[in-house]
């Protein structure tokens, strides 16, 4: 089976998931070994990317090309599948319902309105009623002619709901030891977390923080693309996270979900102690849960996981730790993060 990337494009409400395809095995050459010949501009050494797998517009001859196929699912469906698969409990939100969302619903009938919204059935019913009551209806020749005052139109009502709002703050270590593979894992995991939480909360915001020795807030694109080198000071990210929450997301109104992904290396024990302090004093009291995902990397020592575990112990159920060894570990890790229904 060929597995494509887990998540392809993300439209407004839909995602595309490449369909796994079954390859019939043959003796063949190893893929990347092969290289090949191509056409176009460029100097030796210029990257040409992975090549575009999709044939452009053209006459497909009698052999089909290779291409990736995707199915579309709505995010809601996807979240349901995820929830079912992992038996995730529904989240009990906390805080006031502060976010007001307004949706228009066509629920009523009005005697005025634009023609495009005319309700034919009701209009004719109305006409029938009038004709019967005035005695102009002839059952042997059932002609109903609506006049202007018979006309009925659909009308809408604004449906205002108070919703719980939530903010997800993703933090990621982008120091040299986090490679492409690690980032891919984080990206996939973040996507699923996003999807699930979005299905649980109406209004949701996401913020992204990357850090090596210093932390900064970035947009989603940058979050997943950046690779820096240099040391790691985890506390810098926690500090920034705290600052963002305090200035923009009052905890009484918001459900707050900080996620931190790293390979478990921190610069010094001192900084780790500092992290614990921030967590305990400032972050934990205001967050629903604090999630730490440790991505297996060749270079990381994984020490931070142990430190967190030691410091908070099992009685702190608002600190959720998870180790993600490889791509296959993602689902398990999501279950660990979200399985508590917080």
């Amino acid at each position: 089976m060929t597995h494509g990337e887990l998540i392809g494009r993300k439209g407004k409400d839909t995602v595309s998931i490449p369909v796994p395809q079954i390859d019939i095995p043959n003796f063949r050459y190893g893929d990347k070994e092969q290289g090949g010949a191509g056409q176009g501009d460029g100097k030796p050494g210029d990257p040409i990317g992975q090549g575009n797998e999709q044939g452009g517009e053209g006459e497909a001859g009698n052999q089909s090309g290779e291409h990736m196929i995707e199915v579309d699912l709505t995010l809601q469906e996807l979240a349901e599948i995820l929830g079912e698969q992992l038996e995730l409990p529904k989240i009990e939100p906390r805080g006031h319902k502060t976010l007001r969302s307004k949706t228009d619903k066509y629920s009523g009938i009005a005697s005025q309105g634009p023609n495009s919204l005319r309700h034919f059935k009701r209009t004719f019913k109305e006409a029938l009623r009038r004709q019967i009551s005035t005695g102009t209806y002839d059952p042997s020749n059932p002609v109903i002619i609506p006049i202007k005052r018979d006309q009925r139109f659909r009308s809408w009502k604004a449906d205002v709901r108070n919703e719980n709002s939530a903010v997800i703050i993703y933090m990621m270590d982008v120091s040299g030891s986090m490679g492409d593979e690690q980032k891919e894992i984080v990206r996939t995991e973040a996507f699923w977390i996003d999807t699930w939480l979005r299905s649980q909360y109406k209004g949701i915001e996401t913020r992204y923080i990357i850090h090596d020795a210093t932390a900064r807030e970035v947009d989603e694109q940058t979050f997943f693309r950046t690779r820096e080198s240099g040391g790691t000071l985890i506390s810098s990210a926690y500090k920034l996270c705290e600052k963002i929450i305090q200035s923009e997301y009052p905890p009484q109104d918001w459900n707050i979900y900080p996620f931190h992904f790293s390979d478990g290396d921190n610069w010094s024990g001192e900084d780790t102690r500092f992290c614990m302090e921030i967590l305990e004093k400032s972050l934990l009291p205001i967050c629903n849960v604090f999630c730490y995902g440790q991505v297996e990397s060749r270079y990381g020592s994984g020490q931070f996981y142990k430190d967190l575990k030691e410091f908070f112990g099992p009685e702190h159920d608002d600190v959720i730790l998870s180790k993600i060894e490889n791509k296959e570990g993602i689902l398990q890790s999501i279950k660990e993060f979200l399985g508590k229904g917080k």
């Binding site: 003796f27 090949g36 010949a37 501009d41 030796p44 040409i48 044939g55 995707e70």
Partner: protein, 501 residues
């Protein structure tokens, strides 16, 4: 999938167009098969394409998978099949109903290019031109087996056969020797008392004509030959499917299914061997017929737009349409101007070479010759010149592990040519031969991968060997090379092992 309800009649307007285009094509000297055009909608064209263009194929899940992929890529606007034509006599070509008139005209011209190629290219000469019927027969036979032995059982067996589908020898239909030799080789004179003794005209000459050491050598030679003869096959055999048909301990129905798969593989082989030429030839002619004859002024933009789409280049890929059509143009131009032969090759003055013109006008004749005799390998080998590679901006690329990217490696035309030829010969697949049907005297199968610089994909090899061992019913071994070291893969009842030789 039901095909019964096709209304495939060509509307009068298109029928007129077809006659017109055919007349132009004939006027240029094309000699296509009679071609029957059928109008189909996109679902039908996808269904047909999924089955390799044939309305009736044996039932198999992969056709459904292909259909699903094709229809999804059509619905999402990723890909559209404008045209499809199958190599039969008469040829059947499918026109997409929703195509614009200009496209239909272009497609017709393109199709006549293809059917001319099918009819006249030597590599197609051995294909079954009644394949439509043959495919339908295959379908009936396989359906019958499914009724008798169960669908899953038959389908599973087909899966195994398909894993071996590429283990044929596309050149075999052109060398009848291959089989005959094999049979001769089996029975040399092993039993003769004194093998190799020469007749001596006089008794006293005996010890000079047949000295003991000579007799000894002869005996050894005969023994060797006998040993070799006992080995099956006597020479490495590339058509592994034929070998299996002959020697594998399979049931009659399995034998028949395997032979069906093999027949179909041989039928499709020439299309793989002439992809560049075939598409190049068809594109050459659709362009010429449209531009010189068939196109109305108002159709120019539409045609140019779509033609450009067909010939578009993408980084890291060779567009067979583009390379093919350009190479035909190049050949035509060179033979028109006499840019070939010793005098031209020896000329070192580039300016002179560029302006070279002997007014020979042999271009047309030459390209018809080429379309008759060449396949992609000989086409590229013979006619791809340095100037052409430069003009087409050809390069080779390689995977760079460090950056995890494909990168342009070289623009030297010899390297480009080498790479291209490598990808084209044996359709870019590894050369695998069967060398011993009684390996280690244990009835195991021994294959040999002729290593040409690239290692086999281990994962795929393992699965293929699994399929093979299920047909051979004994362990299967493959002799190959990994990172420059000889290795032996063995697949034995569920277990895959490898060891260095």
């Amino acid at each position: 999938m039901g095909f019964a309800s096709y209304s495939t009649e060509l509307p009068p307007e298109l029928a007129k167009m077809r006659d017109e285009v055919l007349a132009y094509a004939r006027g240029y000297g094309l000699d296509p098969f009679e071609t029957i055009f059928e109008m189909v909608d996109y679902e039908q064209v996808n269904a047909l394409a999924a089955q390799g263009g044939f309305p009736v194929r044996y039932p198999h899940w992969r056709f459904g998978m292909e259909y699903d992929q094709l229809s999804k890529s059509y619905e999402y606007g990723l890909q559209k099949i404008y045209e499809m034509v199958i190599n039969t006599d008469p040829s059947y070509a499918y026109l997409l109903k929703s195509n614009a008139m200009t496209d239909q005209k272009t497609v017709m011209a393109h199709v006549y290019g293809h059917t001319d190629f099918f009819k006249n290219n030597a590599w197609f000469s051995k294909t079954n031109r009644k394949m439509l019927d043959a495919m339908a027969n295959h379908a009936v036979r396989i359906r019958n087996y499914m009724d008798k032995y169960g669908q899953d059982k038959v389908e599973n067996f087909i899966d195994r056969c398909l894993a071996l589908e590429n283990l044929i020898d596309p050149y075999a239909p052109f060398s009848p020797r291959a089989r005959a030799e094999d049979e001769n080789a089996v029975k040399p004179d092993v039993q003769a008392e004194e093998p190799g003794r020469l007749r001596s005209p006089r008794d006293y000459l005996e010890k000079y004509i047949n000295p003991p050491e000579f007799l000894e050598a002869q005996r050894k030679k005969a023994e060797e030959a006998a040993k070799k003869a006992k080995k099956i096959p006597s020479e490495p055999q590339k058509d592994i499917l034929a070998f299996l048909l002959e020697y594998a301990p399979i049931e009659a129905w399995e034998h028949d299914v395997l032979s069906i798969i093999r027949d179909e593989a041989y039928y499709f082989a020439p299309q793989g061997m002439t992809k560049i030429m075939n598409e190049g030839w068809a594109s050459y002619w659709h362009a010429r017929i449209m531009v010189e004859k068939a196109m109305k002024d108002s159709e120019l933009t539409h045609f140019a737009d779509h033609n450009a789409g067909i010939l578009a280049m993408q980084p890291g890929k060779i567009n067979p349409y583009k390379i093919g059509v350009e190479l035909f143009h190049d050949i035509e131009d060179r033979w028109n101007r006499g840019k070939f032969g010793k005098e031209y090759d020896d000329c070192e003055n580039m300016q002179l070479k560029a302006k070279w013109d002997r007014n020979l006008g042999l271009g047309q004749k030459k390209i018809f010759e080429v379309r008759q005799a060449c396949n992609d390998v000989t086409f590229i080998d013979e006619y791809l010149t340095e100037e052409f590679a430069e003009r087409m901006k050809l390069y080779t690329y390689a995977f760079n592990r460090r950056t995890n990217q494909y990168e342009i490696a070289d623009r030297d035309y010899r390297k480009v040519k080498e790479k291209l030829l490598f990808q084209l010969s044996n359709r870019g697949q590894p050369y695998v031969y069967v060398t011993d049907g009684n390996y280690q005297n244990k009835g195991e199968l021994l294959l040999w991968h002729k290593h040409l610089g690239l290692d086999l994909d281990v994962k795929f090899s393992r699965e293929t060997m699994k399929a093979l061992s299920e047909i051979w019913r004994r362990p299967v071994n493959v002799e190959t090379e990994v990172d420059g070291q000889k290795k032996l893969y063995t697949y034995q009842t569920g277990e895959f092992t490898e060891k260095f030789l």
